[in-house]
Subunit: 224 residues, 2 copies
Amino acid sequence: MQLSTIALAVETQTSAMGAIGSGGVRLLSPYDPLFREGDETTGFYEILSGAVRAYKIFPDGRRQIVAFAFAGDIVGFGHGDTYRFDCDALTTTRVRAIPKSSLLRAMRERPELGEKLLEVAGGEVANMQDLSILLCRKTAIERIASFLLTMAGKSAGPLTGRQLPLPMCRADIADYLGLTIETVSRNMTRLKAMRVIDLPNRGNFVVRDIDRLRLLAQCEGNMH
Amino acid sequence: MQLSTIALAVETQTSAMGAIGSGGVRLLSPYDPLFREGDETTGFYEILSGAVRAYKIFPDGRRQIVAFAFAGDIVGFGHGDTYRFDCDALTTTRVRAIPKSSLLRAMRERPELGEKLLEVAGGEVANMQDLSILLCRKTAIERIASFLLTMAGKSAGPLTGRQLPLPMCRADIADYLGLTIETVSRNMTRLKAMRVIDLPNRGNFVVRDIDRLRLLAQCEGNMH
DNA sequence: CGGTGTGTTGAGGCACATCAAGCCAGGTGG
DNA sequence: CCACCTGGCTTGATGTGCCTCAACACACCG
């Protein structure tokens, strides 16, 4: 499963992107904005290091986090002339701007790039469909399990028995999974009590039983 | 709001699509399959008349309807080499196949078509994000109201005081909105009792108070 | 030292799911 | 023509998972 939504996996096309020519590199401190809803779209951003969150604020004050993006991901895709939601850094983050103009120019010169991007976009639509399916159907603990599993997959190296970064706060997780912070907290504690994960300190977690975590993340497992 | 997900609004690019050259036209009876999950992708389909549903069946038997598509929409977008979910007709439906190969050829010849498609794809991703947000956050009656509003918007002509088609059964609506058929039924009756809509017969509905329907559909309205 | 922000834990309520029965229209066979 | 069946829809009673409100624990910081 892929929880990231506006984040395009860049592995498939790193060379292509590299060929477009990079704009400037920006350094962001925690909670510095990358762009705001309504800003004119200047292009995409490739996350070089760190992490960002993309979210939408509703008139009634509610917030929905649409995606987290990490090193290697690209954000700013899927907007029209203006960005459709806010995006800011979770931690100290370096991003490289990819101006829209240079992407369009590159596409004009090499049409196969357009195909590739279209393919990626298609995959992204499919991922979003999966995401909405899962968020719509899963219970709280299943969502948490899925989320932690995805977060674990983001880090290179062994998944289990090792401190893994969890750079976002409970409120961010809650607003991403469509839960409240209390429910997130309770179910994290529950997973800890079940000896599936460990929570050594703020900002980190450890997977102790990857199989049971996977089992919990599936729909089949314990949907009565 | 746009509830349709894999359905690309074709208005923006009818001419472009027309220029690609049409494949064969197929006629489907109710519940005839257009394609099945796992089938090799042959291309897109433009719905000429009628309606289709796209859905995914889970190992545990649950079903999530991902999108409904109507005349003028295009389905089959956002898949890789094989289709990611099932798609079949709700009513008698005519579709025109747009082979992948001819689309790619056209894109090679006219790169601006690629940009256009990419733009559409981007918009589609954004729509999906909106959809998951709304499905994640809204109450049952808000989901129903949103759904009916979208369905009303699909028909040409006046929105209100007129029988509008509702070609899918309660189970389809439920599986689309992430509810049970009982909850769908109860809230439809509730909207009827509130004199916001009318339910004259199976397969049709009437909007009686479009303003209150809109109000209910927003998140702000009555999210306590 | 108190202040603040983040996370945890507990008690109670509510919205929706579940289980179950009944309604209604259309179809079939006697 | 009526009796019966069937499938889609509605309605009711009950249960439960998550939200809400509230208090508390803990780290960090002035």
